[in-house]
Protein backbone atom coordinates (compact mmCIF):
# COMPACT_ATOMS: atom_id res chain seq x y z
CA UNK A 1 0.00 0.00 0.00
CA UNK A 2 1.26 3.39 -0.95
CA UNK A 3 0.69 4.89 2.45
CA UNK A 4 2.90 2.76 4.65
CA UNK A 5 6.01 3.85 2.82
CA UNK A 6 5.18 7.47 2.17
CA UNK A 7 7.55 9.92 3.76
CA UNK A 8 4.96 12.10 5.43
CA UNK A 9 3.31 9.10 7.05
CA UNK A 10 6.51 7.80 8.61
CA UNK A 11 8.03 11.20 9.34
CA UNK A 12 7.51 11.21 13.13
CA UNK A 13 9.00 7.76 13.64
CA UNK A 14 11.89 8.48 11.27
CA UNK A 15 12.64 11.73 13.07
CA UNK A 16 12.70 9.99 16.42
CA UNK A 17 14.95 7.19 15.19
CA UNK A 18 17.33 9.71 13.64
CA UNK A 19 17.51 11.65 16.88
CA UNK A 20 18.36 8.59 18.98
CA UNK A 21 20.54 6.76 16.46
CA UNK A 22 23.78 7.61 18.22
CA UNK A 23 22.72 5.96 21.49
CA UNK A 24 23.44 2.34 22.44
CA UNK A 25 20.52 -0.03 22.19
CA UNK A 26 19.70 -0.11 25.90
CA UNK A 27 19.50 3.64 26.26
CA UNK A 28 17.53 3.94 23.06
CA UNK A 29 14.36 2.62 24.69
CA UNK A 30 14.66 5.25 27.41
CA UNK A 31 15.35 8.06 24.92
CA UNK A 32 12.44 6.94 22.73
CA UNK A 33 10.10 7.09 25.69
CA UNK A 34 11.42 10.51 26.69
CA UNK A 35 10.86 11.84 23.19
CA UNK A 36 7.34 10.39 23.17
CA UNK A 37 6.56 12.09 26.49
CA UNK A 38 7.96 15.44 25.37
CA UNK A 39 6.05 15.23 22.08
CA UNK A 40 2.76 14.45 23.81
CA UNK A 41 3.24 17.24 26.34
CA UNK A 42 4.18 19.73 23.64
CA UNK A 43 1.39 18.83 21.24
CA UNK A 44 -1.34 18.62 23.83
CA UNK A 45 -0.06 21.63 25.71
CA UNK A 46 -0.32 23.73 22.56
CA UNK A 47 -3.66 22.14 21.76
CA UNK A 48 -4.88 23.10 25.24
CA UNK A 49 -3.71 26.67 24.72
CA UNK A 50 -5.39 27.10 21.37
CA UNK A 51 -8.44 25.17 22.48
CA UNK A 52 -9.12 27.78 25.16
CA UNK A 53 -8.87 30.42 22.48
CA UNK A 54 -11.03 28.47 20.03
CA UNK A 55 -13.63 27.94 22.74
CA UNK A 56 -13.85 31.64 23.51
CA UNK A 57 -14.01 32.57 19.85
CA UNK A 58 -16.66 29.98 19.01
CA UNK A 59 -18.69 30.85 22.11
CA UNK A 60 -18.39 34.49 21.12
CA UNK A 61 -19.53 33.93 17.56
CA UNK A 62 -22.46 31.79 18.70
CA UNK A 63 -23.40 34.65 20.99
CA UNK A 64 -22.99 37.16 18.15
CA UNK A 65 -19.82 38.79 19.41
CA UNK A 66 -16.25 38.49 18.12
CA UNK A 67 -14.50 36.84 21.10
CA UNK A 68 -10.94 37.82 22.05
CA UNK A 69 -9.31 39.65 19.16
CA UNK A 70 -6.98 42.17 20.81
CA UNK A 71 -3.94 40.09 21.63
CA UNK A 72 -2.26 39.65 18.26
CA UNK A 73 -3.77 38.66 14.92
CA UNK A 74 -7.31 37.46 15.56
CA UNK A 75 -6.44 37.00 19.21
CA UNK A 76 -3.91 34.26 18.50
CA UNK A 77 -1.60 35.43 21.27
CA UNK A 78 -4.45 35.39 23.82
CA UNK A 79 -3.53 32.00 25.34
CA UNK A 80 0.02 33.20 25.98
CA UNK A 81 -1.28 36.39 27.54
CA UNK A 82 -3.50 34.26 29.78
CA UNK A 83 -0.53 32.08 30.64
CA UNK A 84 1.56 35.07 31.68
CA UNK A 85 -1.32 36.35 33.77
CA UNK A 86 -1.77 33.02 35.51
CA UNK A 87 1.94 32.65 36.22
CA UNK A 88 2.30 36.08 37.72
CA UNK A 89 -0.74 35.92 39.97
CA UNK A 90 -0.16 35.61 43.69
CA UNK A 91 -0.66 32.09 45.02
CA UNK A 92 -3.04 32.50 47.94
CA UNK A 93 -3.38 29.49 50.22
CA UNK A 94 -5.74 29.70 53.21
CA UNK A 95 -3.91 29.56 56.51
CA UNK A 96 -6.14 26.82 57.91
CA UNK A 97 -5.92 24.72 54.78
CA UNK A 98 -4.12 21.40 54.72
CA UNK A 99 -0.96 22.65 53.01
CA UNK A 100 0.34 19.34 51.69
CA UNK A 101 -2.98 18.17 50.24
CA UNK A 102 -3.73 21.64 48.86
CA UNK A 103 -0.46 21.53 46.98
CA UNK A 104 -0.71 17.93 45.86
CA UNK A 105 -4.26 18.03 44.47
CA UNK A 106 -3.53 19.71 41.11
CA UNK A 107 -0.33 17.66 40.77
CA UNK A 108 -2.12 14.34 41.23
CA UNK A 109 -4.94 15.45 38.93
CA UNK A 110 -2.59 16.46 36.16
CA UNK A 111 -0.40 13.38 36.58
CA UNK A 112 -3.25 10.95 36.11
CA UNK A 113 -4.77 13.00 33.28
CA UNK A 114 -1.52 12.94 31.34
CA UNK A 115 -1.12 9.21 32.01
CA UNK A 116 -4.26 8.57 29.99
CA UNK A 117 -2.57 9.92 26.85
CA UNK A 118 -0.14 7.03 26.79
CA UNK A 119 -2.38 4.39 25.20
CA UNK A 120 -4.12 6.34 22.44
CA UNK A 121 -2.89 5.46 18.94
CA UNK A 122 -2.24 8.77 17.23
CA UNK A 123 -1.15 7.29 13.93
CA UNK A 124 -0.21 4.08 12.24
CA UNK A 125 2.90 3.43 14.39
CA UNK A 126 2.39 6.23 16.85
CA UNK A 127 1.15 4.68 20.07
CA UNK A 128 3.42 5.43 23.06
CA UNK A 129 2.41 2.30 25.01
CA UNK A 130 1.05 -0.74 23.22
CA UNK A 131 -0.60 -2.58 26.09
CA UNK A 132 -2.73 -5.70 25.94
CA UNK A 133 -5.29 -4.18 28.33
CA UNK A 134 -4.95 -0.58 27.19
CA UNK A 135 -8.61 0.31 27.64
CA UNK A 136 -8.52 -0.78 31.30
CA UNK A 137 -5.36 1.29 31.81
CA UNK A 138 -7.08 4.33 30.34
CA UNK A 139 -10.12 4.07 32.57
CA UNK A 140 -8.05 3.20 35.64
CA UNK A 141 -5.97 6.35 35.20
CA UNK A 142 -8.97 8.56 34.52
CA UNK A 143 -10.90 7.26 37.51
CA UNK A 144 -7.94 7.95 39.79
CA UNK A 145 -8.28 11.66 39.04
CA UNK A 146 -11.34 11.74 41.24
CA UNK A 147 -9.15 11.40 44.33
CA UNK A 148 -7.56 14.71 43.45
CA UNK A 149 -10.95 16.41 43.19
CA UNK A 150 -11.72 15.27 46.70
CA UNK A 151 -8.32 16.37 47.97
CA UNK A 152 -8.85 19.82 46.49
CA UNK A 153 -12.26 20.21 48.04
CA UNK A 154 -11.33 18.99 51.48
CA UNK A 155 -7.93 20.60 51.80
CA UNK A 156 -9.35 24.05 51.17
CA UNK A 157 -10.99 24.11 54.61
CA UNK A 158 -14.07 25.70 53.10
CA UNK A 159 -17.60 24.36 53.51
CA UNK A 160 -18.60 25.33 50.00
CA UNK A 161 -15.57 23.64 48.52
CA UNK A 162 -16.37 20.49 50.44
CA UNK A 163 -19.99 20.40 49.29
CA UNK A 164 -18.93 21.08 45.74
CA UNK A 165 -16.27 18.36 45.93
CA UNK A 166 -18.85 15.84 47.13
CA UNK A 167 -21.20 16.83 44.33
CA UNK A 168 -18.38 16.61 41.82
CA UNK A 169 -17.45 13.17 43.11
CA UNK A 170 -21.06 12.01 42.92
CA UNK A 171 -21.21 13.21 39.33
CA UNK A 172 -17.89 11.64 38.34
CA UNK A 173 -18.69 8.30 39.93
CA UNK A 174 -22.21 8.20 38.48
CA UNK A 175 -21.02 8.81 34.94
CA UNK A 176 -18.20 6.31 35.11
CA UNK A 177 -20.72 3.51 34.82
CA UNK A 178 -22.24 4.47 31.44
CA UNK A 179 -18.76 5.36 30.22
CA UNK A 180 -17.41 1.91 30.95
CA UNK A 181 -20.58 0.07 29.97
CA UNK A 182 -20.64 1.74 26.56
CA UNK A 183 -17.13 0.49 25.88
CA UNK A 184 -17.93 -3.15 26.71
CA UNK A 185 -19.78 -3.80 23.39
CA UNK A 186 -16.69 -2.48 21.59
CA UNK A 187 -14.57 -5.11 23.32
CA UNK A 188 -17.24 -7.66 22.44
CA UNK A 189 -17.23 -6.77 18.76
CA UNK A 190 -13.51 -6.39 18.24
CA UNK A 191 -12.40 -9.18 20.58
CA UNK A 192 -9.56 -7.21 22.12
CA UNK A 193 -8.90 -4.56 24.74
CA UNK A 194 -5.80 -3.22 23.04
CA UNK A 195 -6.34 0.16 21.38
CA UNK A 196 -4.20 -0.74 18.38
CA UNK A 197 -6.22 -3.94 18.02
CA UNK A 198 -9.50 -2.04 18.17
CA UNK A 199 -8.34 0.36 15.48
CA UNK A 200 -7.12 -2.52 13.34
CA UNK A 201 -10.48 -4.28 13.70
CA UNK A 202 -12.18 -1.26 12.14
CA UNK A 203 -10.05 -1.37 9.01
CA UNK A 204 -11.39 -1.75 5.53
CA UNK A 205 -14.39 -0.52 3.66
CA UNK A 206 -17.70 -2.14 2.92
CA UNK A 207 -18.38 -2.11 -0.83
CA UNK A 208 -15.20 -0.06 -1.11
CA UNK A 209 -17.00 3.04 0.15
CA UNK A 210 -18.37 2.88 3.69
CA UNK A 211 -15.72 2.50 6.41
CA UNK A 212 -16.17 -0.31 8.88
CA UNK A 213 -16.05 2.05 11.83
CA UNK A 214 -18.11 0.96 14.77
CA UNK A 215 -20.11 4.17 14.81
CA UNK A 216 -21.80 3.09 11.58
CA UNK A 217 -23.62 0.22 13.27
CA UNK A 218 -26.82 0.80 15.28
CA UNK A 219 -25.33 -0.30 18.56
CA UNK A 220 -22.14 1.61 17.81
CA UNK A 221 -24.02 4.85 17.25
CA UNK A 222 -25.91 4.41 20.53
CA UNK A 223 -22.71 3.50 22.38
CA UNK A 224 -20.97 6.52 20.87
CA UNK A 225 -23.80 8.79 22.00
CA UNK A 226 -23.72 7.39 25.56
CA UNK A 227 -19.92 7.64 25.59
CA UNK A 228 -19.95 11.28 24.48
CA UNK A 229 -22.57 12.29 27.05
CA UNK A 230 -20.63 10.50 29.79
CA UNK A 231 -17.37 12.09 28.56
CA UNK A 232 -19.01 15.51 28.85
CA UNK A 233 -19.88 14.71 32.45
CA UNK A 234 -16.54 13.09 33.27
CA UNK A 235 -14.64 16.19 32.20
CA UNK A 236 -17.03 18.54 34.01
CA UNK A 237 -18.08 20.29 30.82
CA UNK A 238 -21.27 22.12 30.31
CA UNK A 239 -24.09 21.08 30.63
CA UNK A 240 -22.59 19.07 33.49
CA UNK A 241 -20.31 21.75 34.90
CA UNK A 242 -22.12 22.24 38.18
CA UNK A 243 -18.95 21.44 40.17
CA UNK A 244 -17.18 24.49 38.83
CA UNK A 245 -20.01 26.86 38.07
CA UNK A 246 -19.54 30.31 39.52
CA UNK A 247 -23.18 30.87 40.21
CA UNK A 248 -23.60 27.69 42.19
CA UNK A 249 -20.97 27.11 44.83
CA UNK A 250 -18.57 29.92 43.92
CA UNK A 251 -15.98 28.04 41.93
CA UNK A 252 -16.76 24.71 43.48
CA UNK A 253 -13.81 22.71 44.71
CA UNK A 254 -11.47 25.21 43.07
CA UNK A 255 -12.55 28.17 45.17
CA UNK A 256 -9.38 28.46 47.20
CA UNK A 257 -7.01 28.02 44.27
CA UNK A 258 -5.44 30.95 42.48
CA UNK A 259 -2.84 31.58 39.85
CA UNK A 260 -0.92 28.70 38.44
CA UNK A 261 -2.70 25.98 40.40
CA UNK A 262 -6.05 27.15 38.98
CA UNK A 263 -4.50 27.02 35.52
CA UNK A 264 -3.30 23.46 36.27
CA UNK A 265 -6.83 22.42 37.17
CA UNK A 266 -8.12 23.77 33.90
CA UNK A 267 -5.30 22.18 32.03
CA UNK A 268 -6.29 18.88 33.59
CA UNK A 269 -9.92 19.41 32.57
CA UNK A 270 -8.98 20.13 28.97
CA UNK A 271 -6.55 17.24 28.92
CA UNK A 272 -9.34 15.00 30.17
CA UNK A 273 -11.56 16.30 27.39
CA UNK A 274 -8.86 15.67 24.77
CA UNK A 275 -8.06 12.20 26.11
CA UNK A 276 -11.70 11.13 26.19
CA UNK A 277 -12.24 12.49 22.68
CA UNK A 278 -9.13 10.66 21.56
CA UNK A 279 -10.50 7.47 23.09
CA UNK A 280 -13.86 8.01 21.39
CA UNK A 281 -12.06 8.45 18.07
CA UNK A 282 -10.13 5.23 18.70
CA UNK A 283 -13.06 3.15 19.86
CA UNK A 284 -15.84 4.30 17.57
CA UNK A 285 -14.50 6.42 14.74
CA UNK A 286 -11.80 4.09 13.48
CA UNK A 287 -8.82 5.84 15.03
CA UNK A 288 -6.32 7.08 12.49
CA UNK A 289 -7.96 5.46 9.48
CA UNK A 290 -9.09 7.41 6.46
CA UNK A 291 -12.80 7.47 5.62
CA UNK A 292 -12.31 6.66 1.94
CA UNK A 293 -9.69 4.52 0.18
CA UNK A 294 -8.89 7.38 -2.17
CA UNK A 295 -7.94 9.62 0.75
CA UNK A 296 -5.30 7.35 2.20
CA UNK A 297 -2.44 9.53 0.97
CA UNK A 298 -3.17 11.93 3.81
CA UNK A 299 -1.04 10.79 6.78
CA UNK A 300 -2.77 8.82 9.54
CA UNK A 301 -2.01 11.30 12.31
CA UNK A 302 -3.67 14.04 10.24
CA UNK A 303 -6.87 12.01 10.12
CA UNK A 304 -6.68 11.45 13.84
CA UNK A 305 -6.25 15.20 14.36
CA UNK A 306 -9.21 15.99 12.10
CA UNK A 307 -11.50 13.61 13.97
CA UNK A 308 -10.26 14.81 17.35
CA UNK A 309 -10.83 18.46 16.46
CA UNK A 310 -14.31 17.63 15.16
CA UNK A 311 -15.23 16.03 18.50
CA UNK A 312 -13.72 18.92 20.47
CA UNK A 313 -15.72 21.42 18.42
CA UNK A 314 -18.77 19.34 19.26
CA UNK A 315 -17.93 19.74 22.95
CA UNK A 316 -17.63 23.52 22.53
CA UNK A 317 -20.83 23.71 20.50
CA UNK A 318 -22.74 21.86 23.21
CA UNK A 319 -21.35 24.23 25.81
CA UNK A 320 -22.58 27.21 23.82
CA UNK A 321 -26.03 25.78 23.38
CA UNK A 322 -27.32 23.85 26.37
CA UNK A 323 -28.13 25.14 29.86
CA UNK A 324 -26.64 23.61 32.96
CA UNK A 325 -28.17 20.64 34.77
CA UNK A 326 -28.84 20.47 38.49
CA UNK A 327 -27.10 17.81 40.53
CA UNK A 328 -30.19 15.69 41.04
CA UNK A 329 -31.07 16.01 37.35
CA UNK A 330 -27.68 14.90 36.21
CA UNK A 331 -27.44 11.95 38.57
CA UNK A 332 -30.92 10.94 37.50
CA UNK A 333 -29.86 11.10 33.88
CA UNK A 334 -26.89 8.86 34.60
CA UNK A 335 -28.57 6.21 36.67
CA UNK A 336 -32.04 6.07 35.15
CA UNK A 337 -31.36 6.72 31.48
CA UNK A 338 -27.76 6.10 30.48
CA UNK A 339 -27.03 2.95 32.49
CA UNK A 340 -30.12 1.04 31.30
CA UNK A 341 -29.46 2.21 27.75
CA UNK A 342 -25.88 1.02 27.92
CA UNK A 343 -26.98 -2.36 29.25
CA UNK A 344 -29.59 -2.79 26.51
CA UNK A 345 -26.93 -1.74 24.04
CA UNK A 346 -24.83 -4.69 25.19
CA UNK A 347 -27.69 -7.01 24.25
CA UNK A 348 -28.06 -5.28 20.87
CA UNK A 349 -24.34 -5.63 20.21
CA UNK A 350 -24.53 -9.30 21.08
CA UNK A 351 -27.42 -9.77 18.65
CA UNK A 352 -25.51 -7.85 15.96
CA UNK A 353 -22.43 -10.00 16.33
CA UNK A 354 -24.38 -13.26 16.36
CA UNK A 355 -26.34 -12.30 13.27
CA UNK A 356 -23.27 -11.28 11.30
CA UNK A 357 -23.69 -14.25 8.97
CA UNK A 358 -27.19 -13.43 7.82
CA UNK A 359 -27.38 -13.18 4.10
CA UNK A 360 -29.48 -11.46 1.51
CA UNK A 361 -32.92 -10.42 2.59
CA UNK A 362 -32.08 -11.02 6.24
CA UNK A 363 -29.72 -8.03 6.35
CA UNK A 364 -32.47 -5.36 6.37
CA UNK A 365 -34.22 -7.44 9.03
CA UNK A 366 -31.04 -7.44 11.10
CA UNK A 367 -30.76 -3.69 10.80
CA UNK A 368 -34.45 -3.22 11.64
CA UNK A 369 -34.25 -5.39 14.77
CA UNK A 370 -31.06 -3.64 15.90
CA UNK A 371 -32.52 -0.17 15.37
CA UNK A 372 -35.68 -1.12 17.27
CA UNK A 373 -33.57 -2.53 20.11
CA UNK A 374 -31.60 0.71 20.27
CA UNK A 375 -34.32 3.32 19.70
CA UNK A 376 -37.13 1.62 21.58
CA UNK A 377 -35.69 1.72 25.10
CA UNK A 378 -34.26 5.18 24.47
CA UNK A 379 -37.66 6.58 23.59
CA UNK A 380 -39.51 4.70 26.30
CA UNK A 381 -37.06 5.64 29.05
CA UNK A 382 -36.80 9.21 27.87
CA UNK A 383 -40.55 9.66 27.90
CA UNK A 384 -41.06 8.08 31.29
CA UNK A 385 -38.32 10.04 33.02
CA UNK A 386 -39.91 13.40 32.63
CA UNK A 387 -38.18 16.73 32.63
CA UNK A 388 -36.93 16.78 36.21
CA UNK A 389 -38.46 20.19 36.79
CA UNK A 390 -39.94 20.03 40.22
CA UNK A 391 -39.12 20.39 43.88
CA UNK A 392 -35.61 19.26 44.65
CA UNK A 393 -34.85 16.75 47.37
CA UNK A 394 -31.29 16.94 48.65
CA UNK A 395 -30.20 14.18 50.93
CA UNK A 396 -26.67 14.95 51.98
CA UNK A 397 -25.38 17.83 49.91
Amino acid sequence: MKTTSSLLENAPVLLRDWATAFLPARARWFADSLIDIVAILAVFGLLFAFLTLAERKILGRVQNRPGPNRAGWFGLLQPFADGIKMLTKEDVVPAAADQVLHFLAPVVLLAFSILTFAVIPYGRNLVPLDLDAAVVFFFAASSSTELAVFMAGWASHNKYSLFAAMRALAQLVSYELPLLLSVVPVALATGTLSTTGIVAAQAGWKWGLVPRWLVFTPWGAAAFAVFMVSALAESNRSPFDLPEAESELIAGHLTEYSGFKYALFFMAEYFGMCALSGMAVTLFLGGWQAPLPALEFIPSYAWFAVKLLALLSGFIWIRATLPRLRIDQLTRLAWKLLVPLALVNLVTAGFWELSAGWQGAHQPLRWAVAIVLVAGPALLLGRSLGSGIGPRTYRYA
Binding site: D132, V136, L147, M151, V173, T393, Y394, R395
Partner: protein
Amino acid sequence: MNAILLLIALATLGTAIVAMSGRNLLHSVLLLAVSWSGVAAFYLWAGAQFVAFAQVLVYLGAISMVVLFAVLLTRRAREDFGAPHNLTTRSRFAVAAGAAVAAVLLWAVSRSPLAGSKGPAPTVTVRDLGRQLLGQHAAALLVIGVLLTLALIGAVVLAAVDSPDFPEDAP
Protein backbone atom coordinates in the same frame (compact mmCIF):
# COMPACT_ATOMS: atom_id res chain seq x y z
CA MET B 1 15.20 -6.99 39.84
CA ASN B 2 15.22 -7.45 43.57
CA ALA B 3 16.07 -3.79 44.09
CA ILE B 4 12.80 -2.69 42.51
CA LEU B 5 10.91 -5.24 44.59
CA LEU B 6 12.54 -3.94 47.78
CA LEU B 7 11.69 -0.37 46.84
CA ILE B 8 8.04 -1.23 46.16
CA ALA B 9 7.84 -3.26 49.37
CA LEU B 10 9.34 -0.46 51.46
CA ALA B 11 7.02 2.14 49.99
CA THR B 12 3.92 0.01 50.45
CA LEU B 13 4.76 -1.12 53.97
CA GLY B 14 5.87 2.36 55.00
CA THR B 15 2.71 4.09 53.88
CA ALA B 16 0.59 1.27 55.33
CA ILE B 17 2.24 1.58 58.74
CA VAL B 18 1.90 5.36 58.79
CA ALA B 19 -1.71 5.08 57.64
CA MET B 20 -2.66 2.54 60.30
CA SER B 21 -1.05 4.51 63.09
CA GLY B 22 -1.93 8.04 62.04
CA ARG B 23 -4.10 10.44 64.00
CA ASN B 24 -5.87 12.12 61.14
CA LEU B 25 -8.43 9.76 59.64
CA LEU B 26 -8.45 11.42 56.25
CA HIS B 27 -4.69 11.36 55.96
CA SER B 28 -4.83 7.67 56.84
CA VAL B 29 -7.26 6.98 54.03
CA LEU B 30 -5.20 8.88 51.48
CA LEU B 31 -1.97 7.21 52.59
CA LEU B 32 -3.66 3.86 52.31
CA ALA B 33 -4.61 4.78 48.75
CA VAL B 34 -0.88 5.27 48.11
CA SER B 35 -0.27 1.87 49.68
CA TRP B 36 -2.79 0.27 47.34
CA SER B 37 -1.09 1.84 44.36
CA GLY B 38 2.14 0.36 45.70
CA VAL B 39 0.48 -3.05 45.54
CA ALA B 40 -0.52 -2.26 41.94
CA ALA B 41 3.12 -1.42 41.23
CA PHE B 42 4.06 -4.86 42.59
CA TYR B 43 1.58 -6.48 40.21
CA LEU B 44 3.14 -4.57 37.32
CA TRP B 45 6.61 -5.67 38.41
CA ALA B 46 5.41 -9.28 38.48
CA GLY B 47 4.00 -8.94 34.96
CA ALA B 48 0.30 -9.19 35.78
CA GLN B 49 -0.74 -6.06 33.93
CA PHE B 50 -4.46 -6.63 33.82
CA VAL B 51 -4.61 -7.23 37.57
CA ALA B 52 -2.58 -4.07 38.20
CA PHE B 53 -4.98 -1.94 36.17
CA ALA B 54 -7.98 -3.62 37.80
CA GLN B 55 -6.43 -2.93 41.23
CA VAL B 56 -6.05 0.77 40.43
CA LEU B 57 -9.51 0.97 38.91
CA VAL B 58 -11.27 -0.75 41.81
CA TYR B 59 -9.24 0.32 44.83
CA LEU B 60 -8.09 3.82 43.90
CA GLY B 61 -11.05 4.70 41.76
CA ALA B 62 -13.92 3.15 43.66
CA ILE B 63 -13.14 1.90 47.16
CA SER B 64 -11.27 5.07 48.16
CA MET B 65 -14.27 7.10 47.00
CA VAL B 66 -16.66 5.07 49.13
CA VAL B 67 -14.38 5.27 52.15
CA LEU B 68 -13.93 9.03 51.73
CA PHE B 69 -17.64 9.57 51.46
CA ALA B 70 -18.19 7.51 54.60
CA VAL B 71 -15.52 9.50 56.45
CA LEU B 72 -17.17 12.76 55.46
CA LEU B 73 -20.66 11.64 56.29
CA THR B 74 -19.81 10.32 59.75
CA ARG B 75 -17.95 13.17 61.35
CA ARG B 76 -19.34 15.42 64.05
CA ALA B 77 -16.74 18.17 64.32
CA ARG B 78 -13.27 18.84 63.04
CA GLU B 79 -11.67 17.49 66.20
CA ASP B 80 -13.30 14.14 65.73
CA PHE B 81 -10.92 13.22 62.93
CA GLY B 82 -8.07 12.60 65.31
CA ALA B 83 -8.51 9.31 67.05
CA PRO B 84 -7.11 9.51 70.57
CA HIS B 85 -3.81 7.82 70.31
CA ASN B 86 -2.70 6.96 73.80
CA LEU B 87 -1.27 3.47 73.93
CA THR B 88 -4.08 1.60 75.61
CA THR B 89 -3.75 -1.97 76.72
CA ARG B 90 -5.70 -3.07 73.71
CA SER B 91 -3.39 -1.43 71.25
CA ARG B 92 -0.36 -2.87 73.05
CA PHE B 93 -1.78 -6.35 72.78
CA ALA B 94 -2.72 -5.70 69.16
CA VAL B 95 0.83 -4.73 68.29
CA ALA B 96 2.10 -7.81 70.11
CA ALA B 97 -0.35 -10.02 68.23
CA GLY B 98 0.63 -8.48 64.91
CA ALA B 99 4.30 -8.93 65.66
CA ALA B 100 3.71 -12.55 66.67
CA VAL B 101 1.82 -13.28 63.46
CA ALA B 102 4.56 -11.61 61.43
CA ALA B 103 7.23 -13.61 63.22
CA VAL B 104 5.46 -16.93 62.67
CA LEU B 105 4.82 -16.20 59.00
CA LEU B 106 8.37 -15.02 58.33
CA TRP B 107 9.80 -18.06 60.09
CA ALA B 108 7.59 -20.34 57.99
CA VAL B 109 8.55 -18.55 54.78
CA SER B 110 12.25 -18.65 55.50
CA ARG B 111 12.21 -22.34 56.29
CA SER B 112 10.25 -23.44 53.23
CA PRO B 113 12.29 -24.90 50.40
CA LEU B 114 10.41 -23.06 47.72
CA ALA B 115 11.64 -23.92 44.27
CA GLY B 116 10.86 -20.64 42.60
CA SER B 117 11.03 -20.68 38.84
CA LYS B 118 13.75 -18.54 37.33
CA GLY B 119 12.04 -18.06 34.02
CA PRO B 120 10.16 -15.05 32.70
CA ALA B 121 6.69 -14.16 33.84
CA PRO B 122 3.88 -16.26 32.40
CA THR B 123 2.02 -14.22 29.83
CA VAL B 124 -1.70 -14.13 30.15
CA THR B 125 -3.38 -12.27 27.36
CA VAL B 126 -6.71 -10.62 27.93
CA ARG B 127 -8.19 -13.04 25.44
CA ASP B 128 -7.04 -16.05 27.52
CA LEU B 129 -8.37 -14.40 30.63
CA GLY B 130 -11.74 -13.82 29.00
CA ARG B 131 -11.89 -17.41 27.77
CA GLN B 132 -11.06 -18.74 31.24
CA LEU B 133 -13.54 -16.45 32.97
CA LEU B 134 -16.38 -17.40 30.67
CA GLY B 135 -15.33 -21.01 30.26
CA GLN B 136 -13.88 -22.77 33.24
CA HIS B 137 -14.82 -20.17 35.82
CA ALA B 138 -18.18 -19.14 34.40
CA ALA B 139 -20.10 -20.31 37.47
CA ALA B 140 -17.85 -18.31 39.78
CA LEU B 141 -18.29 -15.26 37.54
CA LEU B 142 -22.05 -15.51 37.74
CA VAL B 143 -21.91 -15.92 41.51
CA ILE B 144 -19.69 -12.84 41.78
CA GLY B 145 -22.16 -10.90 39.66
CA VAL B 146 -25.01 -11.86 41.93
CA LEU B 147 -22.87 -11.10 44.99
CA LEU B 148 -22.03 -7.61 43.73
CA THR B 149 -25.66 -6.89 42.91
CA LEU B 150 -26.76 -8.02 46.34
CA ALA B 151 -24.01 -5.97 47.98
CA LEU B 152 -25.08 -2.90 46.03
CA ILE B 153 -28.73 -3.29 46.95
CA GLY B 154 -27.85 -4.11 50.54
CA ALA B 155 -25.58 -1.12 50.92
CA VAL B 156 -28.26 1.20 49.53
CA VAL B 157 -30.91 -0.26 51.83
CA LEU B 158 -28.64 0.01 54.87
CA ALA B 159 -27.51 3.52 54.25
CA ALA B 160 -30.76 5.04 53.05
CA VAL B 161 -32.59 7.28 55.42
CA ASP B 162 -35.78 6.15 57.16
CA SER B 163 -37.46 9.47 57.82
CA PRO B 164 -39.87 8.57 60.66
CA ASP B 165 -37.14 7.17 62.91
CA PHE B 166 -34.58 9.89 62.20
CA PRO B 167 -36.44 13.09 61.46
CA GLU B 168 -33.29 15.18 61.62
CA ASP B 169 -31.84 13.31 58.67
CA ALA B 170 -34.85 13.75 56.42
CA PRO B 171 -34.43 16.15 53.51
